[in-house]
Structure formats: C-alpha cells, structure tokens
Amino acid sequence: MNSTAPVSRGEMYLRFFLARSRFSLDVDLTLPASGVTALFGPSGSGKTTLLRCIAGLEQAGIGEMRVNDEVWQSVDTFVPLERRPLACVFQEASLLPHLSVQGNLDYGRRRAGRRQCEALADGEAQRIIEMLGIGHLLARRPQGLSGGERQRVAIARALLANPRMLLMDEPLASLDQARKQEILPYLERLKAEFNGPLIYVSHATDEVARLADHLVALENGRVLHAAPLDKALADLEAPLPLGEEAGVVIQGEVSELAPEWKLARVSAGVPLWVHDRNFQVGDTLRLRVLARDVSLSLEQHKDTSILNIVPCIVEEIRDDERAGLMLVRVRLGGPGGAPLLARLTRLSVKQLWLVPGLRLWAQIKSVALVY
C-alpha cells in the first residue's frame, strides 16, 4: 500500500476507505496539524464517520493516518483510541453518569500520562475550570446539569486530559440557540489557547465561519473541498453549496475607535466600519460578509445610508446555484486585496458591463462580526 505519501512536520495525512451498506467514505487528505479544521457538510456526508476514523473509534478497512511523524494507522499498525494523545467532545451529553463533575474531570486528567501527554499542573487545571465557568458545579452529578453546563464540563474534561489533538463532533448541535451563544465564546477562547490541531465537525455555516481556519467540505463520503477557510469560501471554481449563506470571511485589525457612534474602524486592506463591542485598537477581528449583502456600483455614492463603500476590482464572475443570479468575486482595494463575493442578478451584471479587471465600488450593507 501507499506508504510513501508525503507528510512533513506540521501536517497530518489521512486516507480512509470504509464501505457500509448504504454509505461509503473515501478520503485522502493532508491537513495542517495546527489550528481549527472544520469538517463541514450536510448530515449523511460522512463528517462524523471521518472524525471517528481519525479518533480510532472506527477502523476503516483501508486506512492510513500519520500525524507529524507518528503513524497512528497503516497496513500493520492500529493505535487504539486510548493510546492516541487526543481528546473528544461528543455531540450529546457524554459525561459518565456515575461520576460527579469532579470525577469526570479527573477521569481523563489522571490517565494523561498513559499516552504520552504530560499531566496538567494543578494551577493550569484550575485555570481551565475557571475559563469554562464550571467551578461551582464540581460536586454536582451530570443528571442535574443543564445541556450547556454539561457541554462545558465535557470540553473542560477534554482539555484536562492535556491532549495534543482535540476532536469535536458537533458540540453545539444538541443545544438551543441561547445555549449555543453561551458556549461559542468558550470555544473561541479555547481556539486561541489550544496549541494542537482542533478538528471540528459541523453542519452550521456560522460556527464554521466563526471558528475554522481550514475547511474540509464533504458530500456523500467524498471530499468536495479542502482549503484554508478564506480561500474555500471565496472559491468560485468549485463553490461550496452554501445557498443564502455564501459569503467570505475577512481578517482585520482595529485601527480606530469612534466611541460617540459606537463604531470601530477595521483595517482589512481597506477600512471597514463595524459595531464597537468594546474593542481596543490593535485587536484582530474576523468579519463575515455575505454575498447577498454586497452590491456593486460604478460610482461612489455619497447619498446612501450604507457606511461601508469601498473600492475594489472585479476578478471573476460565475453563475450562482440559483438561475438568474450570479456571484462576482472582487478584491478589496485592488488585485492583491482580500476577496469579497457579491450576489447580483444577471441583468445587473449585464447593465454594469461587469468584466474581470473592472474597478468599481462595493457597497456592504452589513458586516457580521464573528470573532
């Protein structure tokens, strides 16, 4: 079998083939061994199965997996889950029901040494418990916790095992909108602090836009797309089937605050105004701009309520999934700028004579702050 596939330090290589009666998974991927990689796709696309293969919960008939220079699976090797230096957060409540919250947290922490993970220092453990806000729950039983609390304990338990890789299988899917908003900030803090790779399964575009650095889109057990998030979202050659949620994410830095208007100016090649949520100058933000919120204009209109009108250049024009609509990719500022997608009608494209290379203005109706 193929044992010479290139995998260098800082990367992981996965190849799995698994056939079920109505479903098969067939993937061959090289992923960065750091940052957040989202496995994204509709239900039945194989994202959870792929995660289970990575964890070692599922033993693919043909499988190969290497992380940096460690072999986790090959023709003659299969490292069982309990020996892999990773931790999982599952979709629904997965706390051990016979143990208290403290007992659950200790379960993984005490066993860290068995798989070459260093045991966490007490101070560090305390800090994680505080970060997830579960200090007051330690003596409680899992049955008495709310869904959001349980998931926070599950995340803390995973972190206390001090893993080198974190796997999360739709950790927010079983929660209602309010609980989701409660957990997301914790996940963002975790993303900022966790050094190893975090593989995050989700079918929710907003979670992916908020958390992911790298995107693997799956469909029917095959990889549709695997690229850094900003590239994947702006790709018109092989567009992700996002429908109304097509759009880009833009990274920028807060350059100026306008407290009297509660606005902050973010520099992302061009300046963009966003709602100020008590930012500091220098903060790095992640912005999400949906294609449906962007319109293009040949002139810079001054007589509009839209705040963000920025110069850009047309790069590519493609038909949208929906007939009569087109997606236009422009670059903010000029050819090297951040990409932006605009969804226009075919008629508008014709009337404006849009062609690659044309310089014009993008009017951005709303900018969602995602980070």
């Binding site: 599952f90 997965s94 051990l96 029901p97 016979h98 379960y107 066993r111 068995r114 095992a161």
Partner: protein
C-alpha cells in the same frame, strides 16, 4: 418451634445460597459482558444454553447432572482421576448444580443493564485514556451495578427456593444436602404439618421480602430518572 434439624437445614441453605451467589457473580458478570459485546456466531447458542434451566423441568436437569457426576459419568471420572470425592450426594455437587440452575437469573439482568448502557460511555472512557480492563472496572461495573444487585438477589433467592435438582443429585443428607425445601418435604411426608408450617412460613416471608425489596429499589430508580445511572 424449630428443631435442631430445621436449624441445620436453614444454616445449610444460607451457606449454599451465599457460596452459589458469589460464584454466580464471578461467572455471570464476565459472561454477560461477553454476550453484550460479542459478534461471535456462537452467541445465540451460548445464550440458549444459559437460558435452558428457565424452561427445563428441574428433574431433567438434575437427572443429567446426576449421570454426569456419577461414578461412570464424565465429571465423576474426572473427579476420581484427580483423587477427589464424587460430586453427587455432596455439598460441592449441590453448589455446582445450583450455579448451573440459577445462571440465567444472574446473566440476564446483568446483560440487560450492560446493553442499556450503550457504547458511548465506553468510547468516552477510551477517549480519555482508559484501556479495556480499566474501562470494565471503572465504567462497565459501576454503570451496570443496579443490574448486578438485582442479579445477586435473584440468584440468592432462586438458590434458596430450589428443590427438584437438589433432590435428584443431592438426596437428603442432613448437614450436607438437606436444604429447607427438602426438610419441608420430609416434614410433610412424616405428617408433621406444624413443623412444615413454620418452615414454609419462613420461606414465604423471605421470598416476599426479597421481591418487595427488589421492586421498591427498581421503582425508586425509575422515579429518579436513572435508567443506567449509579446507585441512588
């Protein structure tokens, strides 16, 4: 009220039931775990063999055991070859027979509890670094403890209530094989109805108390919403 022979019979019965229950748990728990996890094609065969005493008349089971344990049976020959006493008409023989006879009453509740637990807790434990043996002791046993308790109670009570198999292979030796049920039979045969009443009454109270405890315990757990959770 109770004669010395009655007291001997009660003591012997309690001793038998205790030894048998301990052996049943030692044997039944791993067996239930194997049945829960295995995908072997022998699973149905093993399940059916274990469940046989549920439907077989005790005399049939007793008869085969008597033949096997007798001097010309395979077990008897083995014991003779090892220089040991024959199992038939001995306390040890009674223990062996009772273990076989009560096995389904132990395996089934434990197996049910283990199945209800599902695979998720095991996956969780493995993802936190627990190997197979570790998982068995720190997750499987605590999570199936309600089933194990039920199994122990049923195994004990069923052994106390056994009659047919004992009579077939153990006979009626005071202090060795004459258990309460046989003692009652003897009293009735001798028309000592007063003695029979006392012992029968004790058995009736004991059985009711055991079942009452079992249903109260199971009912309370269900109310607490713990389908597979720990002890209340």
């Amino acid at each position: 009220m109770l004669s010395a022979a009655d007291l001997t019979a009660i003591w012997l019965t309690l001793k038998l039931a205790t030894v048998v229950t301990l052996l049943l748990l030692l044997l039944g728990i791993p067996l239930a775990w194997w049945l829960t996890r295995t995908q072997s094609r022998w699973k149905s065969t093993v399940s059916a063999v274990i469940a046989l005493p549920l439907v077989l008349p005790p005399t049939v089971l007793g008869f085969y055991l008597l033949v096997a344990m007798g001097p010309d049976g395979p077990l008897g020959r083995l014991m003779t070859a090892l220089g040991l006493e024959l199992l038939s008409f001995s306390f040890t023989g009674l223990v062996v027979a009772s273990v076989i006879y009560s096995l389904p009453f132990v395996v089934q509740p434990v197996q049910n509890a283990m199945q209800a637990m599902g695979t998720r807790p095991l996956e969780v434990a493995a993802s936190l670094g627990a190997g197979a043996c570790d998982r068995f002791f720190t997750v499987v046993l605590p999570l199936s403890s309600p089933g194990i308790l039920t199994a122990a109670i049923l195994g004990f009570a069923h052994t106390v209530g056994e009659f047919g198999v004992v009579l077939m292979i153990g006979g009626n030796i005071p202090g060795a094989t004459r258990v309460i049920s046989v003692q009652i039979y003897d009293h009735v045969e001798a028309l000592e109805y007063g003695h029979a009443h006392t012992l029968a009454g004790i058995m009736l109270l004991f059985s009711f108390a055991v079942l009452f405890a079992l249903y109260t315990f199971n009912g309370r757990r269900r109310h607490a919403g713990l389908s597979v959770g720990g002890l209340p």
